[in-house]
């Protein structure tokens, strides 16, 4: 019964909620509509409780939801209870009680004297019919698509369009006609006053919509910008946002691949192994054995060059990898400039910013020497690399014309499952100047350009997918 009424309002509200940063899936959107149908729209507090159950799933989301709900349904003139029928506006909302010239019993009284036939808008203004005006305003806003507003520079334009849609032109003609007639001067003045009042109301409506609908656009836009931004060139505020985003993306990936693995797990009865295992019971299938697709979580060794501009990228790579730990069977991290140290413990103990600061303090921004760094790694940790280990090297491969020790990387590749090299430099400059990238490349399963979060996400996503089968 409430459905047809609920749907458009709710659709707008869902857009507002998304704009407020709530991630509302299509399924949740449908749930919201069903929930609203189940409780009705009449009781605002109940509607809020119901929608909150469906749309907001963390403390932070609950907070945003409350704010957005208050803002949205606090709109003047929005009332779901139909008003008693009026000739001026059928099924119009109950009048709100705005402060303003119209508040005290109408701007113009009911005096219809004077020559010109008033337009519908003029009539409502003179009669102080706030219910009718509010309804007409909402209708006009809907008709011109006010909820598409996305930046503040559009406020004037949308306000003007709403006024036009409500019949501004006719109203202006009417005022002009009254001005020409001396007997109409007073009416003209009253209408002008009322028109300006209406203009104020419309502007306010537009502003509110800007707040409701435009926020998310900016939020989404910023997120997309961040994904594509060079990790090495972020300012402090963006770096903070980037960390939040990296964690969120890592979580999403981890959950996705946990599910994929699960799906593959239940297999079929493995008759051979069942029989073998049950020899002791005379072959009676006391313990069944299931065929399982062998799915192992990847085990990672991450070697990061932390010299120069690579350091900034290293921070985000490490943050990414450590936020993923549930999807991995183990991570060890190493940092190098001209020597290599293991940093796994610092990363597990400290929040990423502090960890990075400490790592920098320990091996600093010295100039890179890939050769000696690889030697250190071979001495200290080569033994620990096995066929299940994926090694990720992050670096620009610029060793300041020192001996690159490609042979060590080759040995490493021989022991490990695979070596993946991430290079923040553009591929066009690989191999130019002191870059040894092209000499290392033949021993890597993959060399990927990795300067942005989007690129990082792709590489790690592929890695997890390969492992999920």
């Amino acid at each position: 019964m409430t459905a047809p009424l609920a749907a458009p309002v709710l659709r707008d509200f869902l857009r507002a909620a998304r704009s407020a940063g709530l991630r509302v899936s299509t399924a949740e959107g449908l749930d919201a509509i069903r929930a609203a149908e189940a409780v009705g729209l009449a009781d605002r507090a109940t509607l809020r409780d119901a929608l909150s159950l469906v749309l907001a799933k963390t403390a932070e989301e609950k907070r945003r939801f409350e704010e957005c709900f208050a803002l949205f349904f606090g709109r003047e003139g929005f009332r779901e209870v139909p008003a008693p029928p009026r000739p001026a506006a059928e099924g119009a909302p109950e009048p709100a009680a705005p402060e303003g010239p119209g508040a005290a019993g109408g701007i113009g009284g009911g005096d219809m004297g004077g020559g010109a036939t008033p337009s519908p808008l003029g009539r409502m203004l003179l009669a102080g019919d706030r219910a009718g005006l509010a309804a007409a305003m909402e209708q006009a806003a809907e008709a011109i698509g006010l909820s598409n507003i996305s930046v503040f520079t559009q406020v004037n334009m949308y306000a003007r369009r709403i006024m036009e849609r409500m019949g501004l032109e006719e109203l202006e003609d009417e005022i002009a006609a009254l001005r020409r007639d001396p007997a109409g001067a007073e009416r003209a003045a009253r209408l002008e006053l009322a028109r300006d009042y209406l203009r104020g109301e419309v502007r306010e409506l537009v502003q509110r919509n800007l707040l409701l609908f435009a926020r998310g656009e900016t939020e989404r836009w910023r997120e997309e910008m961040l994904r594509q931004a060079r990790l090495a060139g972020l300012d402090r505020r963006d770096a903070e946002r980037m960390r939040v985003l990296v964690r969120a993306i890592a979580r999403r990936l981890a959950t996705r691949y946990a599910r994929v693995r699960r799906r593959d797990r239940r297999g079929q009865l493995d008759a051979r192994r069942t029989l073998r295992r049950n020899m002791a019971w005379g072959g009676v299938p006391f313990r069944t054995v299931w065929k399982q697709r062998k799915v192992e979580k990847p085990r990672l060794f991450v070697l990061c060059d932390v010299s120069g501009s690579v350091a900034a990228v290293a921070e985000f790579l490490l943050l990414f990898v450590y936020s993923l730990h549930e999807a991995l069977s183990g991570v060890r991290a190493f940092a190098f400039t001209s020597g290599t140290i293991e940093v796994s413990e610092i990363l597990e103990r400290e929040p990423i910013e502090q960890a990075i600061a400490q790592i920098m303090g320990r091996i600093g921004f010295g100039s890179s020497n890939y050769g000696t760094s690889l030697e250190d790694f071979e001495k200290g940790w080569m033994q620990a690399v096995d066929r299940r280990t994926t090694v990720i090297v992050l670096g620009d491969g610029r060793g300041n014309r020192t001996e690159p020790r490609v042979d060590i990387l080759q040995r490493l590749a021989g022991r490990a499952k695979q070596v993946i090299w991430l290079n923040p430099e553009h591929p066009a400059s690989w191999g130019s100047g002191d870059s040894d990238m092209l000499r290392y490349a033949p021993h890597c399963r993959l060399v990927a350009h990795c300067a942005t979060l989007a690129q990082l996400e792709r590489v790690i996503g592929d890695l997890l997918r390969d492992h999920a089968g």
Partner: protein
Amino acid sequence: MNDGGMLQRRVASIEAVEAGLGAAGYIASRPIATAIYLAQRLEKPVLVEGPAGVGKTELAKAVARWLGLPLVRMQCYEGLDESKALYEWKYGKQLLYTQILKDRLAPVLGEAASLEQAIERLHGVGDVFFSRHFLEPRPLLRALEAPAGAVLLIDEVDKSDQEFEAFLLELLSDYQVTIPEIGTVRAAVPPLVLLTSNAMRDLGDALKRRCLHLHIGFPDPKLEARIVASRVPEAAAGLRRQIVAFVQGLRRLDLRKLPSVSETIDWAQVLVLLHARELGADLVRETLNVLLKFESDIRAADSQIAPLLFRAREEAATAAA
């Protein structure tokens, strides 16, 4: 599906839920009642989060009492897997039956011309051992198979691991599971599912998306007073108001673990046993360990007892007026 009709009538409105839970001894806030109402109307599980002792588990029990449905409880822990949660084969019984039936099997196999044929025949027989008779249903399966429906409480789901969460997701999306040897088991009446979490770890988005998300926080003074009245009716109104006002004051302090509803109830019970008529500084000091579990918290609160008591008495007096 037919019994769903009866359920639907009982869960006719949010008010009906409030009343029903009240009769079952659970004082539900409006958002809680709304959650249960919608869970039933939309056939969706409810994920209940909130601090310890605010009545998350009790809610599920009360719903079951009220609706007269069996409560199937599954306590989650790390390492919980499908064989503990869903079903297990009764190996012992399978073994026993094979032994008993050995004599019957021998002629069947004896006549076989070749090994292939023998195995062929064994296959036919083997299925018998992987049938319903040898299946030990665990909580999830029991909840699906309850003839009139059930209240399924998946308690402390945040303690299970991610893989199990992914498995739950499948179950909760269509209330059915597939057992390879037997086929698909579909709930005749979808159970009303409540999952609780203390936020030990973040649950996955996918699971949250599938659930209604109810956050139960500490109750406001009015609601808490009603809860105490229902649980400890022996506490007189005046004392009850002071108890609640004092606990609410404690929750404003910076403590390691804030006292929850369960502590308020325990405290009220202790005070009744001590025949207290109203709160006094000594009485509070002697019983503070019922409310607070950490030494450091007790010390911190101890120095605040006088002002807290003063305010509690004042608030209790205004609440009475």
